[in-house]
Subunit: 405 residues, 2 copies
């Protein structure tokens, strides 16, 4: 079918369009209430601040702003991030910080660093779809680890590592989203964070700590990043400006041991030279000028309100046989329906009813979780949340009836 | 030395810092006159236009500007590029166009698409260092093809392909910079462009046409891109906004057959999701609003002036035993010194004399060309060009004397 298939690399041959993404792309009907995406709400964008800062950096220093930047990132921003991370209990300096063209790039470069055909990668099960796709593209076998309300179950994790060791399998990488996980909303406990470091040391693997949602906490106490317990430099920490500033600016960062940072920078160099310099300067002024400190509470208030609304709609409309998470932050609620419901099969009917979600099974490395779904509460308008959850509940009731008929 | 080496992928193990890049990084002394980089001159940046446009897009449509964009690119910009390419004799529509986070990303994704260990890639010899590094990182064996004043020598190219075929070697990719090539400044003749398409069809390979300098022509007639002669969809054309707008905005594009574009988009998706949306809107308004048409002659005038200045300085100061190219555009002049001079060994002495260039040998896949150097004329200030060339000429005279002593 593809005339040039025989010329492609093994990786390119593996790369296939994802069902879910193709579905999301086609979903252009404005009447559909979508809980499917993972987009921040535009109401959270600090438009005036960005306008003001953009003008200022172009006024004050257009030459640096518009010229090529260094691969490691714009140094004042690296400095800012190093200080910010230190305030999050992650001791680091500028040499540990790389500015990425979004956290997605950090995941891709970590995959390039560690993953290839024949390698096994450990992830939470379920986990972030794009990361699973990325690891698979690079040729990984993915093993998903069971979670509960405190995140990945570390005892079973250790058992798994022992079993793999017996089989001669040595995973180089454990990928985790410790805060308000995508897709479940679950947060990893501090005790388990510490234990993961012990496991990484004992079983000799690196940890990719993907933390785009950590500062979107609506309630409860901040838990220090896994990276803050990392005494052996085995954690690559990554976060993003997409949820606290703007995704369109494509900016994220990593904090890692100096050896790992150097390798990641070399891989980034051939990948895209550097992150957008204009964006980096906007982000730096945003952090330095007090804008971020003012904006973050606004963002959290908007999202907390939307989440409360979704939780109460679920309470009001969803069948009693379903269960869902009540995350203390982030962007997603995870729903488990009764076993007879298959959310993938149900999806076309949901689209007919003008409501969308993501089927849970695509987040499971083994394709299980057929009765689960991920709901995003950050993007839809408040009043749409009630309507959409009601539509979805009606559909589920119908499905349950036809299943028991 | 690297504690985690044993966990790395084969690719990551191959990736090493480049000597040249490390040297360039250390070259912070402001007294050094550098002909080494490949940066556009900040005088060419349309600062006022960018400021005006940035304000306008944030005013008119902040939601789209700051939100996630699609992987293929911002559709109005894809449309603009499709029209622009049609004006360059490349018939295409929006589906053939992908917006990249700089042309470097296009090279990297093409490498990911086609290159892996055991594959052979053909390039001009000499060729662009970053591309050679990229192909090597992906595991390629690189074979360099001899050039003359009309670009790559196509008869020898064909002989090489036949010889490789006999050895059972089937290169999937020929990489070329057809206009004002980096590093030589040489332009590929139209006749040879057509012949390359014939070779690609006959020997079944794809062509990556890297064209960042094509519109920086100071004199002579525009030659249509290889892509314009591509009757079989074998050419991936790539260009960049770095030299006609700003490198800090990190924007480039590809034009390719629909099958190749789809694969490249899938690879881009896991690589960085999408190019910076704010930048894409700025670029689109820049092209649509007549700014580009006004700015391009200004850029060309500045560069033509600097090039004349460098050519006359070379004429005035360089020894009669040296030869150099007189490109009709672009950013570089290529110098061949007498055989006894080794430009790599001479480099530390040049730094002492406060002048810098890039040693030619690093552009040759086989490391030859020890008596050559690349000189960039776009970045240094006009008066520095004379001074720098004079310093360099004095050094070369000294080297010649010590060689003949």
């Amino acid at each position: 079918m593809d005339r040039f298939e025989h010329l492609y690399s093994e990786m390119a041959k593996r790369v296939k369009p994802s069902d879910v993404r193709e579905i999301l792309k086609m979903m252009q009907d404005p009447e559909i209430i979508s809980f499917a995406g993972g987009m921040p709400n535009p109401d959270t964008f600090p438009i005036d601040a960005i306008k003001e800062i953009a003008n200022r950096v172009l006024e004050d220093d257009p030459v640096v702003t518009l010229q090529y930047g260094t691969t490691e990132g714009y140094n004042p921003l690296r400095e800012t991030i190093a200080e910010y991370m230190s305030s999050q209990q992650v001791e680091c300096d500028i040499d540990n910080v790389l500015i990425m063209s979004g956290a997605t790039q950090a995941i891709a470069l970590a995959a390039e660093l560690l993953v290839e055909r024949g390698k096994t990668v450990l992830t939470e099960s379920p986990s972030f779809l794009a990361s699973l796709i990325c690891f698979r593209n690079y040729g990984a076998e993915i093993i998903g680890l069971t979670m509960d309300d405190d995140g990945v179950q570390v005892d079973m994790f250790e058992e798994k590592l022992k079993a793999l060791r017996k089989q001669g399998i040595h995973p180089p990488l454990f990928y985790t989203i410790p805060n308000f996980q995508n897709p479940t909303g679950v947060t990893l406990s501090e005790k388990r964070r510490r234990r993961i470091i012990d496991l990484a040391n004992e079983f000799d693997f690196l940890v990719f700590e993907d933390d785009p949602y950590g500062n979107l906490r609506f309630e409860g106490e901040h838990i220090p990043p896994i990276k803050s317990f990392d005494d052996s430099g085995r954690v690559i920490y990554a976060s993003s400006f997409s949820k606290i500033l703007s995704p369109g600016l494509r900016l994220g960062w990593t904090v890692a041991d100096i050896e790992l940072s150097r390798k990641l920078a070399l891989l980034k160099q051939t990948s895209d030279v550097s992150a957008n310099v204009f964006s980096q300067r906007i982000a730096n002024e945003y952090m330095r000028g007090g804008y971020f400190d003012r904006q973050l509470p606004i963002i959290k208030e908007i999202y907390a309100r939307k989440q409360r609304r979704m939780l109460s709609a679920l309470e009001n409309y969803f069948p009693k046989t379903s269960r869902w998470t009540r995350p203390k932050g982030g962007m997603f609620i995870w729903v488990e329906l009764q076993k007879s419901i298959d959310t993938k099969q149900m999806f076309p009917k949901a689209i007919e009813k003008k409501v969308a979600y993501v089927q849970g099974s695509c987040f499971f490395p083994d394709g299980s979780g057929r009765n689960t779904m991920r709901l995003n509460f950050t993007h839809p308008a408040d009043e749409k949340i009630d309507q959409g959850i009601k539509r979805l509940a009606e559909l589920i009731e119908l499905e349950m009836k036809s299943a028991s008929a």
